[in-house]
């Protein structure tokens, strides 16, 4: 028997190999302050958005550490790829909380994943700060630990819908991707248009899809032809939509405007769509260049220098998310989880994109811990190869650089 067991050790080694991480050592007191970042870095998640967020956060971390860290301690962020899968998100959250012993969690791009993560954050009493997750439900659950710097769908797409109505569009087509982001946003817009009695049609697209021509042809042949197409698409499918709508002569044209989401702020829009991207309207949740503070200017410069591409709104949001969390730690005077949660409710932090605070109002439900003054602009590319910060601002009025929509 003894003999045979010795022979079995080989097989057990396989299992033991997998169990190695079980034995990792607990953190020491004067170790760096640990924070956890969550977001999609691989499919089926929106990995290009996640990558930009991760870069922006690391830039911020390096800045803080170079300046001496927080409370005299260095800052260390563990990045967890959640692949856009809720189970990955909840496992990542538990891992960050229990294994990496993080003081707070932030990030995320997908609402469905965020909804799984906040359950764990709530369970363990760890602050969770959403960077670019728009579903109302996230803050509507009113967990004390859950905050959000990004807009809620109701906050932005109500505005976007209102703007289209103000512009006098009479017949609006909504094209939404079949993700939490797209379906959530589309519903808000549709409801708002419904409430204002504006005709609209909804079309949902699959992100893997590459040929949208039949759907666009259908829109073209609608009578009357839509005078605006609002895309609620984050993934790369949006580039295809723009290109194909343009090649068909559907939009953007004098007859039909094309309004897109922030994915179109990435420079790839010019590589893929070329001239077709001219006259595109884009919903942007970042401040216009004219409003940039020194922080924003410095961030944009540093980001562009380091990653050889201009940051989009998502990067600014991610950078500010880290800033908010760091500020809360400073204010709390410790990396204690509960203290951070408390500090976040009292914070007033000037970031690159806005000055953040998190109200405790409970009505409407989603407003709880929701940053309300999200900068919201609608911009229009007026030249080829334009960066978003150079583009014309058509909304809101106080920031507008033009009062005329092209063409």
């Amino acid at each position: 028997m003894e003999h045979s067991i010795r022979n079995h050790l080989g097989a057990l080694a396989l299992f033991a190999l997998a169990a190695v991480p079980l034995a990792s050592a607990p953190a020491l007191a004067e170790d760096p302050i640990q924070l956890g970042w969550v977001g999609p870095l691989s499919p089926p998640g929106n990995y290009s958005g996640g990558q930009e967020m991760q870069w922006a956060v690391q830039l911020g971390v390096d800045e803080i550490n170079k300046a001496g860290g927080l409370l005299g301690r260095q800052l260390e962020v563990t990045y967890e790829d959640t692949k856009g899968q809720p189970a990955e998100g909840s496992a990542a959250a538990v891992r960050l909380i229990t294994k990496n012993n993080v003081s707070a969690i932030f990030g995320e791009f997908h609402s469905s994943v965020a909804l799984a993560e906040i359950e764990e954050a709530h369970k363990y009493g760890v602050a969770w700060m959403g960077t670019d997750v728009w579903a109302d439900d996230i803050t509507a659950k009113q967990y004390p630990e859950v905050f959000r710097v990004s807009p809620a769908n109701s906050l932005v797409y109500v505005k976007a819908a209102d703007w289209t109505v103000e512009q006098g569009f009479k017949n609006i087509a909504i094209i939404a991707e079949n993700t939490d982001f797209g379906q959530g946003g589309a519903k808000i817009i549709a409801d708002e248009l419904q409430a204002k009695n504006v005709a609209h049609t909804l079309a949902t697209i699959d992100l893997n899809q590459q040929d949208f021509t039949p759907a666009l042809l259908r829109l073209m042949n609608q009578s009357p032809r839509p005078d605006a197409i609002q895309m609620v698409v984050a993934g790369q499918a949006q580039y295809q939509l723009v290109k194909q709508a343009c090649q068909l002569g559907l939009a953007p044209t004098a007859e039909t405007k094309l309004i897109g989401s922030s994915g179109l702020l990435q420079k790839e829009v010019w590589e893929v769509d070329g001239a077709c991207a001219k006259n595109l309207l884009i919903v942007n949740v970042a401040q216009p260049k004219s409003q940039w503070n020194d922080k924003a200017k410095a961030f944009v410069a540093a980001f562009t220098e380091r990653y050889k591409r201009a940051p989009t709104g998502v990067a600014l949001e991610a950078y500010d998310t880290l800033g908010v969390v760091a500020e809360a730690i400073r204010k709390a005077g410790s990396a204690d989880r509960a203290a951070i949660v408390r500090a976040l409710e009292e914070i007033k932090y000037e970031g690159a994109n806005a000055t953040y605070s998190f109200p405790t109002t409970k009505e409407p439900a989603w407003a709880f811990h929701q940053f309300m003054d999200v900068p919201f602009t609608i911009i229009q590319y007026t030249e080829e190869n334009q960066g978003p910060e150079e583009a014309a601002i058509v909304y809101p009025k106080n920031w507008a650089t033009t009062d005329k929509i092209l063409p």
């Binding site: 949902t204 893997n208 021509t213 759907a215 259908r218 295809q240 893929v272 001239a275």
Partner: protein
């Protein structure tokens, strides 16, 4: 009527492009009797290969396509020799499963590798020709037109190659019957290697041709692969002509389905389901495919 025509022409053009994607899969199946579940990743590799050849070496776009095909041919030959070839020996018992697993493993390997190597942001090689052909109610972007014409050229070329050249006839002989091919002095194993290399080259060529039409991303091959599966089933597995018919049928069904189904939202959401449903029904009702020659696998 012009609406119908618009949809139909668009469906036809896209269908030809689909057929091109499927042609390599067809060739591999007809000779090796293997469904290459890694086809989509080879297609993706072809797209990137041409992108880097064009942007890195400064090749003209069409030469980039040729370069991509050569690259993928070599890749296919090496993969076949190293991984697929053992299948023909007695060591491998479950041959069908073996082939599915190794080619599917190839997809997992390459798709994730692409993400690491090529990065997450979309890339797009330059257009073959910008703008669109406008004739009456018809609007056809030139890139699509060129891809469709190239598809026809490649498919006709493939058929002629199989019928007219010695190598092609040898491939065709092996696809009809390994045993009889061996009897007349053709080494089936060499033909398997050639077929897999050519199949990979065709996948790569398709990816390269379509790259300017759609953009490049590491997951760009997922959907075309599924569409290619649908097409080879529709067309009767292993028949080039059948694949063309299958591709066009799929293109038309999708275009007209999206164009005419009553609920526009659902019509679009189910675009891919149309094709999958077509596959399911074909396998149930007419397992030999709609257009192809009957195959032996079914008892």
């Amino acid at each position: 009527m012009s609406y119908f025509l618009l949809l139909a022409v668009n469906g036809l053009v896209v269908g030809l492009i689909y057929a091109l994607v499927a042609s390599g899969l067809t060739l591999v199946f007809s000779v090796l009797k293997v469904v290459n579940f890694g086809h989509g990743s080879l297609y993706m590799l072809g797209g990137y290969a041409s992108y880097y050849l064009i942007s890195g070496l400064g090749l003209p776009p069409l030469l980039g396509v040729v370069g991509a095909m050569v690259t993928l041919f070599v890749f296919g030959v090496v993969f076949e020799r190293l991984v697929i070839a053992p299948m023909y020996t007695d060591k491998v018992e479950r041959k069908d499963e073996y082939a599915i697993i190794v080619t599917f493993g190839l997809t997992i390997l390459i798709t994730n590798l692409a993400l690491v190597v090529f990065g997450p942001f979309a890339k797009s090689p330059p257009s073959f020709m910008t703008g669109a052909l406008i004739a009456g109610p018809l609007i056809l972007p030139y890139d699509r037109l060129i891809a469709a014409v190239a598809a026809v050229v490649l498919l006709v070329g493939l058929s002629l190659f199989l019928k007219r050249t010695a190598l092609g006839q040898a491939l065709d002989a092996v696809s009809q019957s390994r045993e009889s091919a061996a009897v007349i002095g053709i080494d089936p194993k060499r033909m398997y290697t050639v077929a897999f290399g050519l199949g990979s080259a065709l996948a790569g060529g398709a990816g390269a041709l379509i790259a300017p039409v759609f953009a490049l991303s590491p997951s760009m091959g997922d959907l075309p692969a599924v569409q290619a599966f649908i097409i080879i089933v529709l067309g009767g597995m292993g028949s080039v002509g059948g694949s063309v018919a299958g591709g066009v049928l799929l293109g038309l069904v999708q275009a007209l389905g999206v164009g005419y189904l009553p609920d526009p939202n659902r019509a679009l959401a189910y675009t891919q389901a149309f094709g999958a449903l077509l596959l399911v029904i074909t396998l149930l009702v007419r397992p030999t495919g709609l257009f192809g020659r009957p195959h032996l696998r079914l008892e």
